[in-house]
């Protein structure tokens, strides 16, 4: 049984954006040496997300536009207060809620050393509160 965990850093450049990380995940699978098993991808933040959808710009725009409609910046959020454990204020509740609704992880099977996914499926890291340096985890398990 092989279990391999990679921490991958990326730098977002906008307040909100979708970044295609499919190639990076495929690469970690290849390097792991696992022939048959699973790959889990997990975003390690709470104001960013990770989701799988068709990789086209119109959908990228729709996701951000409609998440913003669901959780407008100007809404009344309890999170808007001083966070004494953090030394700063929390006013990015909209980003946290988008992360909750959009999810932070995905899982794909590995067969014969290759990640198995639908031909149109793209794995996205989603920034809701950038720009920031971010980290996501790729864990490969199998034989």
């Amino acid at each position: 049984m092989i279990i391999r965990l990679e921490r991958v850093k990326l730098q977002t450049r906008k307040s909100e954006e979708l970044i295609d990380i499919t190639a990076s995940v495929v690469e970690v699978v290849k390097k792991s040496g696992v022939r048959n098993g699973l790959v889990n991808v997990l975003n390690s933040h709470t104001s960013a997300g990770l989701l799988v959808t068709e990789g086209i710009p119109c959908l990228e725009e729709d996701i951000l536009t409609h998440f913003a409609r669901l959780f407008p910046e100007g809404e009344d959020y309890h999170h808007r207060r001083y966070l004494d454990y953090d030394g700063r204020l929390g006013f990015n509740a909209d980003a946290h809620l988008k992360s909750v609704i959009g999810g932070v992880s995905c899982c794909f099977p590995i067969e014969n050393g290759l990640l198995v996914k639908g031909s149109r499926q793209t794995i996205y890291f989603v920034e809701y509160d950038g720009p920031l340096e971010r980290t996501y985890l790729v864990q490969v398990l199998g034989e």
Partner: protein, 293 residues
């Protein structure tokens, strides 16, 4: 646009180079956010539409054993990018502070003085501090003085009242003082200082509850009337974000959400800061008129 109030406390490159840097960030400045590459600082400025940012250190070695960024660290960042405007900090209670300030300005190229009476544990009106004010006046640099509530631990509120700065402001009429955080919660006291003394400026880096937009709406339209800014103080306010306690973009958005004219916003976002950074002395005509009344 210029951000007159930022703290370079979360920069990975400095944390790798200086062993005490992160400990000071966590224990003295007190913030829990992850360290970030320097490029993130520029990207945060970019998304906010900010071209240049003033970097503020605090020399609180006597009071807190560690400085919150040093003059050398700030100068190092300024050498990396012309988008940074570095301020110095010296401890007014320490012997040699004047010489240290002159060296920071003439040697390191820093362009202002940051003082924090609460974090540095001194009274702004203490005569021992006058040497530093005198040196700053001679150098023609502004003094950005912390006033208002500080989130840093062990910083008594009573050290942060804007009126504590009145005596130095009166004694050094050629020295420009910027009262940080609009003096919140003593906003009217800070406003009174700026109304009375032409060498007093206020920065907008106040955010203590709610969102930046909500807080600004309350402070700048209900706590004081927006017209007070538009009509009376438009030449004495500079934009400051207090990044990284708050992202710059949110503070820019909050200020723009107020019912201020574009001319007034231009002064707050740019012209007043440029004047402070270039001026050797406050505008003579305005000062003599106001001081006579």
């Amino acid at each position: 646009m210029i951000d007159f109030h930022t703290h370079p406390v979360l920069i990975q490159e400095l944390a790798r180079k200086y062993p005490d840097y992160e400990r000071s960030t966590r224990e003295v400045f007190y913030i829990g956010n992850n360290l970030q590459p320097l490029e993130i600082f520029f990207l945060q400025m970019d998304v906010a539409g900010i071209e240049r940012a003033v970097l503020l250190p605090v020399d609180c070695r006597r009071a807190r054993k560690l400085a919150v960024s040093s003059n050398e660290q700030v100068a190092e960042l300024c050498r990396r990018s012309t988008r940074f405007i570095g301020f110095a900090s010296v401890d007014p209670m320490r012997r040699g502070a004047e010489r240290e300030l002159r060296e920071a300005v003439n040697g390191l190229g820093l362009r202002g003085l940051k003082l924090d009476p609460a974090l540095q544990d001194f009274a702004p009106g203490d005569r021992k501090a006058y040497g530093v004010y005198e040196a700053a006046a001679e150098l023609g640099i502004p003094v950005l003085m912390h006033t208002g509530l500080s989130w840093a631990p062990h910083t008594p509120l009573q050290r942060c009242h804007p009126l504590l700065v009145e005596e130095p402001v009166r004694r050094f009429p050629k020295l420009n003082f910027v009262l940080a955080h609009f003096g919140w919660p003593w906003v009217w006291d800070a406003v009174a200082m700026a109304l009375k003394y032409p060498n007093v400026f206020l920065d907008t880096s106040c955010l203590y509850y709610d969102s930046p937009a909500e807080f600004f709406q309350f402070v700048f339209s209900r706590q004081i009337p927006t017209t007070l800014i538009e009509r009376s103080l438009r030449n004495q306010i500079v934009f400051g974000s207090n990044y990284p306690r708050v992202e710059i973009k949110n503070m820019v958005h909050a200020l723009k959400s107020l019912n201020l004219t574009s001319g007034c916003l231009e002064k707050i976002f740019r012209t007043n800061a440029e004047r402070l950074l270039q001026a050797r002395v406050p505008e003579k005509k305005t000062r003599s008129r106001k001081q006579a009344s």
